[in-house]
């Protein structure tokens, strides 16, 4: 799976995700990516793109869950993504990238690794695969 989230200079968020699915998946299998709210979600608070075990991400409705925690519990982005990945999605099942409308970035995963990169207007940059 690949994905990208962004917030522009107007504070508008967007998310996009694309995938081939699982190696050796059954013909006709639908994963989390195209299910809005599971693999991909964006609103006026944040944008989220997930990756990992699609069936678990669907059961957790991960992307919308992050947005809901921000909208209804007023959690900051990092706390919302940590809650979903570490408390709701089972360990080893995946990760996500997210941005908030105020320019925060989170890249959270509970697998061994996640290919990822991020940047913000103030010059912060990060590229990585593993946790360290």
């Amino acid at each position: 799976t690949v994905g990208c989230v962004a917030v522009d200079i107007n504070g508008h968020c967007a998310a996009a995700t694309s995938t081939g699915g699982l190696v050796n998946k059954m013909v006709g299998r639908i994963g989390d990516t195209p299910l809005i709210g599971a693999g991909t979600y964006a609103n006026e608070f944040c944008a989220v793109s997930t990756t990992g075990k699609g069936e678990e991400i669907i059961r957790c409705l991960c992307a919308k869950e992050v947005a809901s925690l921000m909208e209804y519990k007023y959690l900051p982005l990092k706390e919302a993504t940590d809650t979903v990945i570490w408390k709701k999605l089972g360990e080893g099942n995946g990760g996500l990238i997210a941005v908030s409308s105020t320019g925060e970035v989170a890249m959270t995963f509970n697998t061994l690794g996640m290919f990822r990169a991020c940047a913000t207007e103030d010059g912060h940059r990060q590229i990585g695969i593993w946790k360290d």
Binding site: T1, V2, G3, C4, V5, A6, V7, D8, I9, N10, H12, C13, A14, A15, A16, T17, S18, T19, G20, G21, V23, N24, K25, M26, V27, R29, I30, T33, P34, L35, I36, T40, A42, N43, E44, F45, C46, A47, G52, G54, G92, I97, V99, S101, G103, V105, A106, F109, T111, G113, M114, F115, R116, A117, C118, A119, T120, E121, I127, W130
Partner: protein
């Protein structure tokens, strides 16, 4: 406040020992390149929606990742790709599943969002819509790489083994998932 961007190329059981230094460098190089492209677009004032489509198209066109060129294979060795896009400002969204000839499924998903009253098209309907819209298509073989053929062969082989060693009722015989280690150290997870 200001613009911000993040991108990913998948998560899974990616151990450090399973990736060669050359493969790691190649992955990090393209992540850097695509990050730069997205940052440049945001700096120029492009909308978040345009930028996420731009970056995902780049990722789809890169065989190092599991979308577009290099998409993983089904049990039958076929390609079934999926993509979705959502605009936070309007909460409009579009998605496609089961496309096997569309070079950039993410752009087809955006067309679903912008040109139809629907949010999700799949399989024959999505392919027909792609043809109607004139998006770039290729024969399915365009998406299949030697590496993915090899991974499918290993997964099929490991799948037989895992069927005999299912550790829970989540095994494939119960309609659940099975995890298959790939040659590159990724899990079978996407």
């Amino acid at each position: 406040m200001g613009w911000a961007l993040a991108l990913h190329g998948g998560a899974g059981r990616i151990s450090k020992s399973s990736i060669s230094p050359a493969a790691r460098e190649a992955s990090e190089t393209v992540l850097q390149e695509f990050l730069d492209a997205g940052c440049a677009a945001l700096s120029e004032g492009k909308s978040a929606l345009d930028v996420v489509e731009l970056v995902v198209r780049l990722l789809e066109n890169c065989p190092l990742f599991n979308a577009g060129v290099g998409a993983v294979l089904t049990q039958r060795g076929t390609v079934e790709m999926e993509a979705s896009i959502m605009d936070g400002a309007t909460r409009k969204s579009g998605a496609v599943s089961g496309v096997s000839t569309v070079v950039n499924p993410i752009s087809l998903a955006r067309l679903v969002m912008e040109k139809t009253p629907h949010v999700y098209l799949a399989f024959e309907g999505a392919e027909a819509f792609a043809k109607d819209q004139g998006v770039e298509t290729r024969d399915e073989s365009y998406f299949i790489t030697p590496g993915n053929k090899e991974r499918l062969a290993k997964a099929l082989e490991a799948g037989l083994v895992l069927l005999d060693h299912s550790v829970s009722t989540d095994g494939p015989e119960h309609g659940g998932s099975r995890e298959v280690l790939q040659a590159d150290g990724h899990s079978g997870r996407d």
